[in-house]
Every structure is written in C-alpha cells, then in structure tokens.
C-alpha cells in the first residue's frame, strides 16, 4: 500500500515537472475509475482478461516455470471462441458453454508445445513461449483475414452470434466476469487445498525435494502449463464473447495485444496469488480506464498517463522503499554508518 503511495507521488512529480495540475489529474483518475458505479463497471471490464493472464503467469511461477506464453494462448483462445461462437449455430446456452470451453481448450493446447519442449528437451520456457506467442500472432492474423472473416466486413472476424454472448452488465462488462472470478477461486482452491496443487507448489519450491518425495515432475509441469493455458484461453474468450459492442476480433487484434504482458505485471503485484491478482487487476484496470479522465479533464497528454502507470508499477516493485529513504537520511538520529 505504501508502495502505491510512493508511485502516486512519483507520478505527481512527473506531472508537476511538465506543468500539469496533478491534484486535478488524480481526482479525475480515481473518481472516473472508481467513483461512480458505471465507471467502476468499466474498470472491472478492463480487469477481467488481466485476471486470467495474470493467473497464467502466476500458476507457472508457483510451479517454478516462467510461463510468459499468455499472449499466444490468449490469441488462440479468442480465435477458438470466434470459430464456435461466430461460425457455428447452436441452441442458446449450449452455444455459449461450448464456445467458452472450446476457447479455453484452444489456449491450453497452445501451451502444450512449450510444455513438451521443456519436459522432453529441456528447452527453457521463456524462449519457447515468446516464440510461440509470435507464431500464434501470425497464425491468428492469417485465420482472421482469410478464414473467419466477416463477409460483409472483412476487417474483422465473424462476430459472436447472439446465442454465444454473455449477458451485458452496464456498458462493457459482461457476466464472463463472474466466470473469471469463479475460475480464480477454483485455481486458489486447487493450488492450496488439493494434492495436485500441493505437488505443484513443491515442485516450484524445490525440484530436488519434489523428486525425492516421488512427485512426477513432468506431469506437474504439464498440469501447470495446461492450467495456465486454460486461463489464458478464457482471457481470449472474454474479449470475444464478453466484449460489447463488437463481440469479435479485428485483424489488428487491438483488444488482445499486450494483455498477456500486462498480466505478468499484475501477477507480480498480486504476489502470484489468485486473490491478490484479482485486486491487482482491478487496480490496474482502474489505471487503464481512469487514464482517459486524466486526459480529458486535466489535459494530461495520454503518453504521460502511460508513463505514470509505469512509475506506479515501478514503485510497486519496491517493498522496502521506505527503508531506503530512512537509510539516506538517518544521520541525525541513528549515528554515522561508516
């Protein structure tokens, strides 16, 4: 919490340097993102996919893996949702469920190559997932432009049909949010209250000890990747089946790009814990949504808004920032340090 304050101060300093009224800016940011109900709903809408991609990374970290493949897995999840949600015709509730599950599985399947490479050839997952992210990017772009394009509007994929859309709450939020929260809670339960989760965490702490305890490392890693892929797939699904007014992916993939990476930041701030991730996502979603109010009401240039977001995140990285300050200015009451 203190770190947040430090970050805000840093942001204020930056704004002051360039001549902006930072009080007005921050007021605009927080009131816009959290102050009124519709703004809060928007914030939640922005937070939704972040919770999932954050979870992908967190599950990986808990099992000792640096899984940054959320981007690519999310793209696959989205295109999966487009396939079933847009191209197939099914009765109402079944359509939604099927599309969601298909999307999640698509994401999970995309995580498998990295998993297999790691298990069988020891390929470090950082590199393999980055590469897979890019491959997914090109593959999905290709599919959107040439195979699932909306015949009337070729710049986007076929939008999800009415029967495959989540219910809308407010302006941008949909009930997929509830599913996302549920998934997070299940993840929490899985990690801390089941044997499987326990094994996962042991492998994360100390592979040697896990091996001695008889835990099957390969199986655990596979599970970690798979779960992460499901989460990222759900993130992709949420941006297609859960995003009015478009309900689809555009060839530019604007709604998807970077959410995987932002998820990493969110996961770290949430200390790789599902509940922490939920709160961190909501906070970050607030920054994302509130930024426009800073722009609009205080005239802060949008680039500076992004810079401020960066400073806040940077500050969140420092648990002992206050200690640092104390170290520099203690001389009066602490005596000299040699």
């Amino acid at each position: 919490m203190l770190a947040v304050a430090v970050g805000l101060v840093g942001g204020a300093a930056l704004m002051a340097v360039y001549g902006y009224d930072f009080v007005k800016a921050y007021r605009a940011l927080f009131l816009g993102a959290f102050g009124d109900f519709s703004g809060f709903l928007e914030t939640l809408a922005f937070a939704t996919p972040l919770i999932m991609t954050g979870l992908t990374f967190a599950i990986g970290m808990r099992s000792g893996l640096f899984n940054i493949g959320a981007e690519g897995q999310m793209y696959m999840g989205a295109i999966g949702a487009v396939f079933v949600g847009g191209m197939l015709n099914l009765p109402p509730i079944i359509h939604l469920i099927f599309a969601t599950v298909f999307g999640m599985l698509a994401g999970a399947i995309w995580s498998l190559p990295a998993a297999l490479l790691k298990i069988s050839r020891g390929v470090h997952e950082v590199v393999s997932t980055i590469m897979l992210n890019w491959i997914a990017f090109w593959l999905v772009t290709y599919l959107i432009t040439y195979h699932v394009a909306d015949p009337a509007r070729a710049e986007r994929a076929v939008p999800a049909q009415e029967t495959a859309r989540y219910l809308v709450i407010g302006a941008s939020l949909t009930t997929v949010f509830i599913l996302v929260i549920a998934f997070s809670l299940i993840a929490y339960f899985l990690l801390w209250r089941t044997t499987l989760g326990y094994e996962l965490r042991v492998v994360g702490h100390n592979q040697e000890a896990a091996r001695y305890a008889g835990i099957n490392i390969s199986k655990t890693m596979m599970t970690s990747f798979f779960l992460g892929g499901l989460a990222a797939g759900l993130a992709g699904v949420s941006q297609v089946l859960g995003r009015p007014p478009h309900w689809t992916v555009f060839a530019t993939m604007g709604n998807l790009i970077n959410i995987g990476f932002e998820g990493i930041g969110v996961a770290l701030v949430g200390r790789n814990h599902p509940i922490g991730i939920i709160f961190a996502s909501i906070f970050y979603g607030g920054l994302l949504h509130g930024g426009r109010f800073m722009e609009f009401e205080a005239g802060v240039a949008s680039e500076i808004v992004r810079a401020i977001n960066g400073i806040i995140i940077l500050a969140l990285a420092i648990p002992a920032a206050l200690d640092l300050v104390k170290k520099i200015f203690p001389r009066k009451n602490r005596g000299e340090t040699g």
Binding site: Y146, E155, E336
Partner: protein
C-alpha cells in the same frame, strides 16, 4: 536489523541522491521551451455565402501545454484517436493537425482522447459526449464505426463525425435510416493510389528508355485490413493504366516493364500481358508487394523495401506511416553507395506529405487530407450547419478527387504538390522556432529547390499522364476499383498480381 558495514557509505548514498536529482533535472532541461509565443489570430471564414469573423488569442509556452483564456460557453471539440495515437506520421497525426488548425482559426478548444485498445472506443466517446461544453466528437478510424453508432444514438444533441467510418451504413442496416447527428467522412484513397501507381510505372518506363533496368515498382503495406486493400488494388490498377496510356501515346510498349516476358508464362499470357479473357489484357505482376503486419516496426519496412530495391523496383509506395523511415533508409543506402543526390530509386509517401523527409528521393506523397476533414467538421459545428450537411449528404461525406460540398470544392485526396510541401515545411519551421532545435533535414529553400528540380527533371509527358488520369477520374471515365471484400481482392490480385 544489524548495521551493515558494507551497506551504503555516506558517499555512495549522496551519489545515489544526486543521481536521481540529475535525472529529473535532465528531464526538465530537455523540455525547456525555446520561447514564449503569443499569437492573436483573426480569421474570416466564409461558407456558402455567410461570413463570420473569429478572433482568438493563444499563448504557447511549451510544445505540449497550451494555455488559453477559456471564455464561458466556448466550444470544445473532442478528437478520439484510434489505437496508436499520436506519432503515427500519418492518420492520427493528420487528424490532430486538423484539430489544431480548427483551434487556431475557429477558436474552438480541442480535447484529445487516445485509445489504447478497442475497448477504449466507447468509453472515450462517451466521456467526451457527456461533457456539456463538447459540441463535436470526432472518431478517427474505421474501427470506431460501431462505437460511434452506439454513442451517437445516445447523445442526439451532439455532433459526431467519423474519419473513414461507415457508421451510417450500420445505422441504415439496423434502423432503416441514417442518424441525423453523424457524419461519416470517407476518402477515396484508391483513386489517389491509382495516381501514384501510374506515376511509378511511368517513371520506370522513362528511366528504362534512358537505359535503366527497372522492371518493377513496389509497395510496402502495414497490417492487412480492407482499408489497405483499397490502396493495394488502386496502386496496381494505376500502374496498369499508366502502362496502357504509354502504349497509346507512343504506339509501343513501355521498355522492359511493358514488354518483358519475366512476369509470367502459361496459357493466359501473351507477350508479357495477362489475358484471361479475349480482349482483356492486364499488365500483371509489375508490382512487388508485401504486408509487414505492423504499422510501427520500421525494421520490417526497411527489410521489405531493401528486397524490393534489390529486385530493381524503381519506386516503393509506403502504406504504413512510420515505416517510411525504414524505406527511406533502404533508399539512402543505395544513394550512399552510388553517390546519388536524387533518385532513382524513389519512394512514395502517404497520408501526410512525406516529400521533405529526403528531398529528391521522395517522388511524391499520396495525401489523404484527414486534417481538412476534421477541420471542416469543426467549421460546420461552429457555424451551426452541421446537421444540415448531414441531411444533405445522407450522413456520408466523400472527400476525394473532384469532390464538392455544396459549391465548395472539398478535396480530400491528392498527389502532393509543391504547395503541400510548403505547408509541411512551415510546420517544421514553426517547430524549430518553438524549440530552437533543427527539425528539417536542410533549410526550407534547399528542400524546395531539390524537390522542384527532381520534378522538373522528369519529362512533361509523365505529368501530362497524371493530369489526364485525374480528369478522367473526376469525370468518371476512369473507374478505379474500390475493393472491400475478400472475393474482390482475390479477383483483382488474380488479374494484376
């Protein structure tokens, strides 16, 4: 916690603090404005017979913050950009330029909202619409069409404009009639691309006459979206038109690029032309093209252009804003190698005037006057004629070659002229005055001189051809294909390569 002997010594901690202070001081130092400029502008604007005089005072102290005494009831216009925001060297920058000019001339205040993801469109538009002072909201980019539909319907007393959008088509689909407060401003970029395509292929013809070896022209595209298909097919069609014009004018095929057999062989090919049906022959395969998949990674622009120049393309059309810098680098390397001060090889700019970036090597730019579109929308709002124009045009304003609104010529697409060059040079000069730093690669006079020389060195028949094409487009004699669907693009790619 124990005392750390090896912790920060006093010297080190002082250094650390100094470091942080230095960085902040440096940051501040960077942005010291050159001077404080006070401008009072009085402008008279005439539209359709009624004249209005507007006086504004601006105080510019830094390059980004602008103070203005805000009179109560001042009109605000909001410009909501597409993803990417400012700095794309074309689209969004032109829109903000238009807004700036509206500020200067009309006394409105522009507020900007930059979208980071598609999810930002509706919230941005709504935030703007909710403000009581905002009278006009401009959405820049066709991706905002749906968002505009939703928000414009919700706020019927505000004016909405969209650049490249097709909101009215959606409205008609949904409700059977267009929205009364929404103006889609669309451009005919396929026509402009056709003109530079003709220019490129005729350039090749000319230089081949002189003994050069240029069998291709090139096009480097950004992300493959239907808007870019318009550019792509227009460009290729233009090349074909240019070469056919050459045949007619000179009674023979253009050297190399018009007659060589390298472009294809097989049943439908006849003497270097592709004739799938009797009497219908096309100059297929003269254009090297690729989509880079990005509007920002200039290394890809460089790599693509370099390959094209390797294969002896004489000019490369940049349809990806900032990638022009990458293309320029490819040209520059050849220039350094062969000690050239002017092309060939050339490249062709897009959206904004990019001729000044490397004078003598940019043969022309295909200008899409998004700035005029935004300016015009603001103008209509200020004089209160916005809804009238919407009603007159059914909500869709087409700005292209030879387009008019009422009896006002309102061109939206053009091949860059020297006058356009001057406009952008002036922007550079203003920036230099404000910051005290050099922005233009050489002095304005030198830029003008080099560009003029480059154009004058070309034979007049090239410019004649372009003038003829332009007038044929205006009159409707020449129909440049406007490609919007996958089938159409496949069909034209089949014919043209």
């Amino acid at each position: 916690m124990c005392m750390n002997r090896k912790a920060l010594t006093r010297t080190e901690s002082i250094l650390a603090v100094l470091l942080v202070v230095a960085i902040i001081a440096g940051a501040v130092g960077w942005t010291q404005p050159g001077q404080r400029i006070v401008e009072t502008v009085t402008s008279t604007v005439t539209v359709g017979g009624s004249a209005q005089t507007i006086t504004t005072t601006r105080v510019v102290t830094s390059t980004v913050t602008v103070e203005r005494p805000i009179s109560p009831g001042a009109i605000k216009i909001a410009v909501v950009s597409d993803i990417g925001g400012r700095g794309d060297l074309s689209f969004n920058d032109m829109a903000f330029k238009g807004g700036d000019e509206a500020e200067k001339d009309l006394g409105v205040q522009m507020v900007e909202l930059i979208s980071k993801t598609e999810a930002d469109y509706v919230p941005n538009l709504e935030t703007a619409a909710r403000d009581p002072d905002v009278k006009l909201i401009v959405g820049v980019g066709f991706l905002l069409s749906e968002a505009l539909l939703e928000v414009a319907a919700k706020y019927p007393d505000k004016n909405f404009a969209g650049i490249d959008t097709f909101t009215q088509a959606l409205a008609v689909q949904k409700t059977g009639k267009p929205l009364p407060n929404m103006l889609d401003i669309v451009y005919e970029e396929h026509k402009g691309s056709a003109m530079v395509g003709a220019l490129g292929c005729l350039l090749a013809a000319h230089y081949n006459e002189l003994g050069g070896n240029y069998p291709y022209i090139g096009g480097v595209f950004g992300i493959e979206i239907p808007v870019l298909w318009k550019f792509e097919i227009g460009y290729k069609w233009g090349c074909d038109w240019g070469l056919k014009w050459y045949e007619q004018r000179f009674g023979k095929r253009a050297p190399l690029i018009g007659e060589d057999g390298r472009y294809g062989s097989g049943p439908n090919w006849r003497d270097g032309l592709y004739c799938p049906q009797a009497g219908q022959c096309w100059y297929k395969g003269r254009v090297l093209w690729t989509y880079t998949g990005t509007f920002s990674d200039i290394t890809k622009g460089y790599a693509a252009a370099k390959s094209m120049y390797e294969q002896q393309a004489i000019a490369v059309y940049n349809i990806a804003g900032p990638l022009g810098l990458g293309i320029n680098q490819a040209v520059q390397e050849i220039a350094t190698e062969k000690r050239l001060t002017s092309g060939p090889p050339y490249w062709i700019g897009v959206d904004a005037n990019q001729d000044w970036i490397n004078p003598g090597f940019v043969i022309a730019s295909m200008m899409k006057r998004v700035d005029r579109g935004v300016y015009y929308a603001a103008l209509l709002t200020v004089i209160g004629k916005f809804k009238e124009v919407v009603a007159d045009t059914n909500g869709v304003l087409v700005l292209g070659i030879g387009t008019k609104v009422g009896n006002l010529a309102m061109e939206g697409i053009s091949v860059s002229t020297l006058a356009d060059l001057d406009e952008f040079i002036k922007m550079g000069v203003d920036a230099e005055k404000l910051t005290g730093k050099k922005v233009l690669p050489m002095s304005p006079e030198e830029i003008r001189q080099k560009v003029t020389e480059m154009r004058q060195n070309l034979p007049s028949w090239i410019w004649d051809a372009l003038t003829e094409l332009e007038s044929k487009i205006r009159s409707g004699q020449a129909q440049v294909p406007m490609v919007l669907t996958k089938e159409e693009v496949d069909r034209w790619r089949e014919l043209l390569g």
